[in-house]
Amino acid sequence: MHRMPHTDPPPRRGAGELEAAVLSVLWQAGRALSPGEVQQALTGQAGAPELSYSTVVTILSRLHAKKALGRRRDGRAFRYAPVADEAGLAARRLAAMLDKEPDRQAVLSRFVADLSDSDEALLRRVLADDGGPGGS
């Protein structure tokens, strides 16, 4: 899984929502947008949060740091575009979610918990004893 190193301080509450709003704007645009254009598109959306220019820049650079956005220099500012398709991005977002606080993990019902080394050995013995499908 693509585990992003979290070097910056943990994002404050609601940051995930803002990031999602910004990302959806960039997907819909289908081209690289400047922070100003993103802010404009967000303001036009019904129910979207009112964001200052500097907040939009912060969100964009955070998403860039998480490798969810690519950017290129255009004059004095950067233009941003999504680097991943929807499924790839979903994977990244979910990976980030799993890496967050334990409560977030607790509400997901994971099919298999992490195996310790001794559990792995134990599991292989049990499966081998039983034979049959997947018993190797």
């Binding site: 899984m1 509400v107 997947g134 018993g135």
Partner: protein, 318 residues
């Protein structure tokens, strides 16, 4: 009075060691309901008992006593606890209330995040495949809940195995298993002695979903081997994550279930390879009796405090 107020505090400690064995021996659906219900009831009773003990200190504050028209002499003579114990109970109660508030906020936020995530996931179908080589799969609570499977997990399983996986995750969503685990964790937050019970519930919901999947695909061994494959594939996909090795020797076959050091995955696989768990009414009845005892004690203690206050009230001379 003293026994009635202290017993509800002791019962969680008495019950906790049995949570693990019960989670292995009972039918998983029964075990989930029973353990969750017992955890919530015992936590409620012990918190009430703490409250009653703390109240004994509060009513002895002269201002409070005069407001309630209670005789300080009677209160000082007949309250269930010395002032030190009552103050200690007050501190513990305060800590429990703070911990509960923190837990509720964190868990609600996490659930809201999961619901949002479930809505945002691409596609309209229940199951979503995400482009990730690491093998992972989970049910995401939501309205409706979604099932997330990585491409790596799909690659690790054959077609019947994928059906078993989806049936397992569907059982989690259909049974609202996150509500059970949340309730049990809440109880363990109020009364930390109940932590083994919360862990047991987190295990029994997995077993519940396993048994449900086995019924749906009609093959317990298939589900067992699918879990095994998935767990091995998931581990192979994240070599850098450090997992402390469980202590103890390696056991094989059904003896895994008796091996305390074994993690949930080998125990789930062993349980599926063994015969289905029988219904054990005696164990169910024993736990229900214990919970009833806690409830009765808490009620008696509350009643005693009420009696004491009315006695103090009749001896009050303004």
């Amino acid at each position: 009075m003293a026994l009635a107020v202290y017993l509800p505090l002791a019962l969680p400690a008495l019950f906790a060691p049995f949570a693990g064995p019960l989670s292995e021996r009972l039918d998983p659906r029964h075990a989930t309901w029973l353990l969750t219900g017992a955890a919530v009831a015992l936590a409620g009773c012990s918190t009430l008992a703490l409250g009653l003990l703390a109240a004994a200190a509060v009513v002895r504050i002269p201002l409070v006593a005069s407001l309630g028209h209670w005789s300080l002499g009677v209160l000082g003579r007949d309250t269930p606890a010395g002032i030190t114990v009552a103050l200690l109970a007050g501190v513990l109660l305060g800590a429990a209330v703070l911990a509960i508030c923190g837990f509720v906020i964190r868990r609600c936020r996490a659930l809201a995040g999961a619901f949002r995530e479930a809505r945002w996931l691409p596609g309209r179908g229940q199951a979503v495949v995400v482009a990730d080589e690491a093998a992972d799969a989970y049910a995401l609570p939501g309205w409706p809940g979604r099932i997330v499977v990585t491409a790596g997990m799909l690659a690790a399983l054959d077609e019947p195995g994928r059906a078993a996986l989806v049936a397992h995750e569907q059982a989690h969503l259909a049974g609202f298993h996150y509500l059970f685990t949340t309730a049990a964790r809440l109880a363990a937050t109020a009364s930390p002695l109940l932590r083994p019970v919360a862990r047991a519930v987190e295990y029994t919901v997995e077993r519940w979903a396993d048994e449900r999947a086995a019924t749906v695909v009609g093959d317990r061994r298939l589900v067992a081997h699918t879990i095994g494959r998935a767990a091995l594939a998931a581990k192979a996909g994240r070599p850098r994550r450090a997992i402390p090795a469980a202590l103890g020797a390696v056991f094989s076959g059904a003896r895994v279930r008796a091996h305390a050091g074994a993690g949930p995955v080998p125990r789930r696989v062993a349980a599926l390879l063994a015969s289905p768990p029988p219904r054990r009414l005696v164990l169910l009845a024993a736990v229900l009796a214990l919970v009833a005892l806690a409830g009765i004690c808490a009620l008696v203690a509350a009643n005693d405090l009420q009696d004491l206050l009315s006695l103090a009230s009749t001896h009050h001379h303004p």
